[in-house]
Amino acid sequence: MGMNKIWRSRFPIFQHHPELVYLDNAATTQRVDSVIDAMQEFSISENASIHRGIYNLSNAATNRFEDTRHKIAKFLNAKSGENIGFTKGSTESINVVAKGYLESRLSKDDNVVVSILEHHANFLPWQDVCKKKGAELRILRLDGDGKLSPESLAELVDKRTRLVAVNHISNALGRINPVTSLIAKCKKRNVPVLIDAAQSAALHSIDVEKMGCDFLVFSGHKMFGPMGTGVLYVGDNYREEVEPLVVGGGMIESVSESVSTYRPFPFNLDAGTPNVQGVLGLGAAVDFLTQLDKDAARLHVARLTSKFTQGVKSIAEIKLVPLFDEESGIVSFNVNGIHAHDVAGFLNRDNIAIRAGMHCTQPLLDELNLDATARVSFSIYNEEEEVDRLISSLQKLVDFWK
């Protein structure tokens, strides 16, 4: 059995839906069996509230929850579990940085730089704080060759730049950005950088030390883990400067009638009873990814992407948005004369699940003068035969619509 078949066998959804061709992995990936097992195990035999229980079940849950921070630190090559905060996803992680770190440090005439490729999750929080504080939101645009260039970023960053936020892989187009070089330009001016790794955390090895970022975020549900889980990595230089958006039980050092103090990051993000079951599921996803041969996984995804992009060349009506990198596994396209929603709706009738619309990237689509695109996104469990089915369904659609 090839690696692809072994990987696929670990995802129970495909036993429940043998006909399903699931190509919406950039929105959410399917859940691996060990994640499901870990979460079920917690419900069945490990459930207890953490941190405050003086009994074995609570202690065990606390240890496993805290161990997961260290596991994720290792996964990212971060210095310690104390650099790893738990959130409900990338969106919340970015909001914590925008509102819990940046907002109080941002003044009129300061600026924040984001790229045109950002998901709304990595655009709106910055736009929002800039508006509140009278700061400028600067946009790093694509260069003539359709890439984000470190040189262009260096021109945008100046002494009033308070943060740069950019994604590792564009969710809408599948462009892999040169994050290490982009970060290096910011480091020269001591500007902190946030990397949105939502699309890369699963199959692209991430080394925050080598990359040099100060903040990095990702979501559990795009890496074979559960929805409602996410990570905020904060480097040592900024760890003590991140304040919580939500306060309450479980994150305090002391509380009195007149004044209270909070625990430092990452524990200050854990107000209330945290999503322990989800965090343990996320930990199981990280275990799976740690054992996964990521080079083989990316090669597999790149092959599928290439098979698709080569295969649709025979259909004149299909226009790819040519700003993808094959190893991302993401490609956006349009079919002449047929709206993207109709493309997705038609493929759905052949049990092929793809996404259509603006992919939460309206500024990007405006920039490219596109109303919407259809998007396929491949993962480790997809197969070559599924690409054949996709292409033949697209051909059928084009013939039908004539």
Binding site: I338, H339, R349, D371, A372, F400
Partner: protein, 134 residues
């Protein structure tokens, strides 16, 4: 309704109607926005003189907008409100008996098969809201 049936209805009505939508033209003057932020379908309905519409969206929302234009032709506001109200009610309840247009009945049939009420009612709801609040 099976897949063959829905494809037949697309072939007979939705595709031709969306490829050549009626009174699909930008106009000056008052306009009403029909926008679905979830999917991005966006049309403007121009209400000065004979009603026109323009914008982008899926075949179903565009075809439905085209049929709305046909229904509103030569109607005064009271009639327009009544026609739209009747159609919105028919789509929501999934029963087409009250409608005297085969095309509009087809939209109700498609809603019953495929859901997508938001696509069908996008321009209709915007126009109704405009007429009721102006």
């Amino acid at each position: 309704m099976n897949r063959e049936e829905i494809e037949r209805l697309y072939k007979e009505l939705i595709i031709p109607e969306s490829k050549a939508p009626y009174r699909f033209e930008k106009k000056d003057g008052t306009s009403v926005l029909a926008y679905n932020p979830v999917c991005g379908d966006k049309f403007k309905i121009f209400t000065d003189g004979e009603v026109h519409f323009h914008g982008h969206g899926c075949a179903l929302s565009k075809a439905s907008g085209s049929l709305l234009m046909k229904q509103l032709e030569q109607r005064h506001e009271g009639e327009a409100k009544e026609i739209i109200h009747q159609f919105v009610t028919a789509v929501k309840s999934g029963t087409a008996e009250s409608l005297n247009s085969d095309s509009l009945s087809t939209l109700v049939a498609l809603k019953n098969y495929d859901g997508r009420e938001d696509c069908i009612l996008l321009t209709w709801n915007a126009m109704l809201n405009y007429l009721e609040t102006k």
